[in-house]
Symmetry: D2
Subunit: 236 residues, 4 copies
């Protein structure tokens, strides 16, 4: 199956970090979503962690609103915040509620300093990394830090929508594999391509700044891969 | 006509800054919107400035998403960003388009360093003030900086909806006087009241922090009043 | 008299904004410092405003510490903060104290929302502009926003040290014309040149990013020129 | 041996998190510095990690300059930045140089996305936590996040200066046990006490805000304890 077409920059990033990228989008956790072998408790552990992550992911997208330079960037980032806060997080809340975990339970996990287990360090490291890039960096840094999550899930959802051999986690797969989400990834990719050219010029991939952005992308990719580990590990 | 009921903190702020508040919400510019005596060109000048202001106002609300502590605060701030970017700004774009001013024309005014006339200094001072509070301050600072605009327009819209003697600027008046906007002001006020108690406790008005927030509110109120002046002044 | 050699980027910026630059560094206020014709009260008004500006200028340099990428950038920015807080501001405090204005008096002016006269709008517009660039922008944005002040004063001090026909304001002139300050400007220029190459590559002046930085530099230059006006205007 | 007197807030925080605090300041790694049993390689591993931490710790103190409200807070934070960048980090550079590790080697570790081992997650989690508090929070959040490091090292240095049974790590112990560092801790504590009263009033410990600050303090304390673990673990 061919790689998804989410634009030039994504394609360059994906090629450049190919080992880390494969380790992320073809992680055993992902494959077990496709063949249905993932234990339900592990899925719930992952959802709980992911909920906390999404709260901060929405904050990072809000920082992208702040750092937008034109109305197209601003509207796209505002739509991402809205989609996360009012739709994607709702899915988590519903799935957790069905398993007897309330939204208050989810949020109570948030800043608790106890139980700093491996899982928690990964979650902290990833969310604080993204947020701090949001504050310290510019719009490009933010896009490079957010792309592995948004586009990686797009690539996984697109692949599993065709390759999944089990329907156990179909709802999750559909969330990211459906055409609206795929279209969002393509638009997002076009926006990143334009943002790079508008700031660094057509030869952006020859600038040192591009190397930095590749490092940000790779760091977020590796943190995503580590994040999968936490689903099957201890519950924070 | 009685003051609007937008909650306890708003009422305290409004009383404490009563002179500045009246100078703002009963400014001659406001009255001339109500009796239709405002020249159309002055209205367009104001709309153009206000469009630039709203771009940064949306950024400030996005910072409120970042600095929210619970999902209620976060959802409210995300809705404000969405409302500004996708609805309130659209009104400006339409009104300006009807007068032959494109959105690109509007944005071109943005960062141009020429023509640093009085108008521009006021606009810069206000927008940078709000944004910097958004970065430097916490959620409460942001609410205090944003309330004069959001709630002041609510109070003006509510009053003019009943008192206006001309229908020339009815569309503008309706934007802020309609029940949905009024309901938004009441919800926003309830959220501010809760945020104060959740952070500073029930006696928040006895803390030094409250005095600071009153100063922020007053500063934004005075900047709003100055902003009305720019409508009838030079176009930046 | 030749232009000072504070590096390549400064030279490009200076040429590109030549009218605005001349209006700033050869402003009548500057000339009146050189020939001693500036009334002492106007000088004190300026010093009071400038003190408030320096408080926020120090904050902006602190943001440059935060956004530094290597130790050379970090040490330079930390030294700038230290120099402002512990030396340059001390000069203002002493000069004002000699005129019966205490440091508490100076700070009391700070956030007072009253008296939003022209002077205050300019001060607010400038300081909030620099701070917001510090938060929103990266190290390069900060350097472009801070260079007109730091290097402009260097150029003025260097010229007046040779051309001044009066000794009335010699202490002020020496502060910026002395060799240590000049050396600081040259080091700062070298650091900016390196920062541009390290991020945007050797052809940085061909990137759109460079155009943005030129706009930031020009905006700060024009705000500096406006700031001179406030010395002879009302005291905020 | 009695607890150090670094002010009221520190004393309250220390009591409230007593288990976590003991686990940090009496960690086996600390005891092995005191009796000299710590292997030199483990000490070097710790120093390398700590160097990277200090780079970001200096950034966090720079954010405290930005968020200061008065000159006393600003001067203190500027002095902390200067002390870290120009003195404390120099000690690390010298100690590492003596072991054949150059400053460039140290910095090269910095943003490398490879080797995301446990050590690296802890370091990332801690440094990004502090930085993000610096951006998102106010001066009080920053003080609560920074106190465990600055004052915890003060308490450890003060105790080991008297109790150490070996001179192997005397230089390290002296760095934090010497009278100048102790005086810095006491001044810092007085500043925190004043900052709390100046913002939240004399009954600050009754406000919900105080509970949040206690959580920030405890989180940083637990991250410090986890950080000791990394000294004896893999080198990132």
């Amino acid at each position: 199956m061919t790689a998804p077409d989410y634009g030039t920059a994504f394609s360059l990033w994906r090629t450049r970090t190919s080992d880390a990228w494969s380790a992320y989008v073809r992680h055993p956790f992902v494959e077990s979503l496709g063949d249905g072998s993932l234990p339900h408790q592990a899925f719930l552990n992952y959802l709980k962690q992911d909920y906390l992550f999404l709260v901060n992911f929405a904050r990072a997208w809000a920082l992208a609103v702040v750092k937008s330079r034109d109305m197209r960037e601003m509207r796209s980032a505002a739509a991402a915040v809205d989609g996360l806060v009012n739709r994607e997080m709702a899915l988590h809340v519903e799935s957790c509620a069905a398993a007897g975990i309330s939204e208050d339970d989810l949020l109570a996990l948030r800043e608790a300093p106890q139980n700093l287990a491996y899982t928690r360090f990964v979650l902290e490291a990833y969310t604080r990394f993204v947020l701090e890039k949001g504050y310290s960096g510019d719009y490009l840094d933010l896009m490079a830090a957010l792309a592995p999550c948004g586009m990686g899930y797009g690539e996984i959802g697109r692949r599993l929508a065709r390759e999944a051999t089990s329907s156990v986690y179909r709802e999750w797969i559909d969330t990211y594999g459906n055409e609206a989400y795929q279209e969002g990834c393509r638009e997002s990719g076009a926006l990143i391509d334009a943002a790079l050219e508008n700031r660094l010029g057509p030869d952006y991939a020859q600038t040192p700044r591009w190397n930095e952005l590749c490092q940000v992308f790779e760091m977020a990719t590796r943190l995503e891969a580590a994040f999968w580990e936490t689903g099957s590990a201890d519950s924070a």
